[in-house]
Symmetry: none
Subunit: 225 residues, 2 copies
Amino acid sequence: MTRVLVVDDEPQIRRALQINLGARGFQVATAADGASALHAAKHGHPELIILDLGLPDMDGIDVLAAIRSHSSVPVIVLSARADSTDKVEALDTGADDYVTKPFGMDELLARLRAAVRRASVAADSEPVVVTESFTVDLAAKQVLRDGSVVHLTPTEWGMLEMLVRRRGTLVTRSELLREVWGPGYRTETHYLRVYLAQLRRKLEPIPAKPRHLITDARMGYRFQV
Amino acid sequence: MTRVLVVDDEPQIRRALQINLGARGFQVATAADGASALHAAKHGHPELIILDLGLPDMDGIDVLAAIRSHSSVPVIVLSARADSTDKVEALDTGADDYVTKPFGMDELLARLRAAVRRASVAADSEPVVVTESFTVDLAAKQVLRDGSVVHLTPTEWGMLEMLVRRRGTLVTRSELLREVWGPGYRTETHYLRVYLAQLRRKLEPIPAKPRHLITDARMGYRFQV
DNA sequence: GTGCGCCGTTAGGAACCCGTCAAGATCGGT
DNA sequence: ACCGATCTTGACGGGTTCCTAACGGCGCAC
């Protein structure tokens, strides 16, 4: 859940943003003045800040500068002033965007999505599955064992990948055949035996007594962490 | 020197931006239509794109989508349309900012600086990758070996860059082809073999026994630090 | 014990893919 | 129009992967 801090002295704007952002799955915190905004920015660890420049206690630009001095969290500035000078000052102080009031909620939300999207480039990583004897890195398509990579052929990797993605659950032979060899290979189970043996030889400490690549007789195979 | 690509069909806007950006130390390339914009975006490796949506040959949104399909370069959209719908569409298609015409040059430049600043922060994660035999500087787009720069052609750099950015993970042939040659080159793997060999000859101490530019037969390539 | 079905294992040849070199085509700058 | 650099294309030797076949082991029913 993405945390957003809304800083504005007008209660109806705080309320409107809280409702609209909350409805779209954001977790909203609010602040009505510069001092509490800085406190919330530091301790609430928001992933995005919407900052109105017209605050009662401090100059909004100073609030922005104070945030930037210790954080690179995306900040979208709101302001009633449409002057080019104000925009330039805010943007050069470190704002990511500048929206003038009155603003369209749709546009603000789109700009917010754009800012969040930019900030979360490196957030989506595929899982790495670790067992006591080897490690499967799904993103890298790579298996590590004793610190060095185990070389797998595409077919071997295709089988292992499917088993690992559905780890703990049974994968039937026909599912494996469809996935790795393509549709039309529903019945020919000989491939599976050959390649599973290969995987066990490469991955299991004692291939004859597999601990992770388990056979369920007459059903299929299962990957046990 | 920051490279900026300006895409607009109005000559006076191209000219105004070229002058103003050039005076501030940017290196400006221009394009007047969608097709040449895509070509320049792909081969000129700009660090920022200013894209007018009103192009003669293609829908600007489609141009944006095409750029986004293979690059995360910051894009500032220009448009004569101030509709909220248009802004939302552009921003959700991957635009970093949306500026309506007529625009103030100061504001545009400030928004451009903000976009470049963000991109450089994001790229600062680790722009230099060092191996035991050579060094790849992603920010400078430069490769060093034994203290001197290794000259790479644009295509060679394109492949190396993608492999290094995803170092450790397998990059499939079709991914490389899409990134470097563009969509539509999904199957022609001959290029890859030729250019990989070229890279190995220039970078690997023993090209026949590569230690960093690794082949995974029938799958793709990977860069190992 | 013996036959049968199912699974695991190994090995070798065929098919396919990769690396390499070199020549022709294309592009960009003068 | 020329020239150099870059990109594309073709051909071939060597290597990897895949498929197939054969055999051994295990459990079960009779």
